[in-house]
Amino acid sequence: MSPIAGGPRGVGIGWRREIDLTVERLPGVDFVEAVAEDLHPGALPASLETLRARGVPVVAHAVSLSLGGAEPLRHDRVEHLAAVADALGAPVASDHVAFVRAGGLESGHLLPVPRTREALGVLVDNVRAAHATLGVPLALENIAPLLAWPDAEMSEGAFLAELCARTGAWLLLDVANLHASAVNLGQDPERVLDELPLERVVYVHAAGGVERDGVYHDTHAHALTRPVLDLLEALCARHRPPAVLLERDDRYPPDDELAAELAALRAVHARVRV
């Protein structure tokens, strides 16, 4: 069961224009996720309409709200996400615990926020402001960091737990990003799982990546790796999330390889544990 009404269940895949037909054809796709910044609410791609007509839930995922940014929230971005979520009939919208703009510049990718009381306060304000505009529940995702701010006052798990408690937001837990934090920052992923309110996880992201020179790069362009599947297993052993989604953004493999990755996720997710 999903903790939110009509929330995703089972196994899904990130819908991308480059693999739209593949996503429509793949067996065992229980839901999909579409990136809001790639869509226009008034002109949804036919493929997403096809999936919706089949009853496949579509989750709206954003990358540009900059919820962790200390500058004023860009309401136009939130309104765009709200309009896309509405057009998709999405049960939930999501974005990251990150910032992507500051000082007049755009990063183009998700950057970590310091884990301080001050930064948490900024996130709480921004998430509340986003809630006021969004017509659907908002789920917040942990990112894959390459660097860390000094002087963290809280662990990642405690930081996210308090963010959820103060805002009522849900969690989109990315197990590949959890692995990235473990490799790149030496964070214990099991401790994060212990500290997170796992009953607030609406869905899980899993993706492939590659380790180079002791640094894990969350590429979404390589095959799923064993440590990521093991973290999904560790999560499911504590509290089985309602849904898990495969993200693939580049260097698309043959359809049967994507099908095999979905099957691997399903095998872990659906396993009966006693």
């Binding site: 500058e71 500051a102 007049g104 755009e106 183009g108 990718h109 860390a148 000094p150």
Partner: protein
């Protein structure tokens, strides 16, 4: 720390990552360099995907160094979409005489990010 101080610290990190600023105190400089390189690679990938076939054909192997030079010299300003970024790069190539003066609207509507 205040909200404005946090804003300044975030701006300093981002400037270090995309605009050649110094690595902020307390953040591992080698990781700042690594993140900067990752951001550059991502922008290069996205731009390459958005550019018209004409640009790929004309520049061939010269495209990557030209993109890298463009990216380093032109950090993306707030509110500039990746489409506008690609548009500006093409305009820059035309101004430099590398490309002819095309009139056709070459970009695709709402292409990949």
């Amino acid at each position: 720390m205040s909200r404005s101080e946090l804003a300044e610290r975030q701006a300093a990190l981002l400037a270090a990552l995309v605009a050649g600023g110094p690595a902020p105190a307390g953040i591992d400089a080698s990781r700042v360099a690594l993140e900067a390189s990752a951001l550059r690679a991502k922008r290069r990938r996205v731009l390459a995907r958005l550019l018209p076939v004409e640009v790929h054909e004309r520049l061939g192997a010269d495209l990557t160094p030209r993109l890298d030079a463009w990216i380093s010299a032109n950090p993306r300003r707030t509110g500039t979409s990746m489409h506008a970024d690609a548009d500006a790069f093409v305009a820059h190539l035309r101004a430099a005489g590398v490309l002819g003066r095309g009139r056709r609207r070459w970009w695709s509507a709402w292409g990949p990010r």
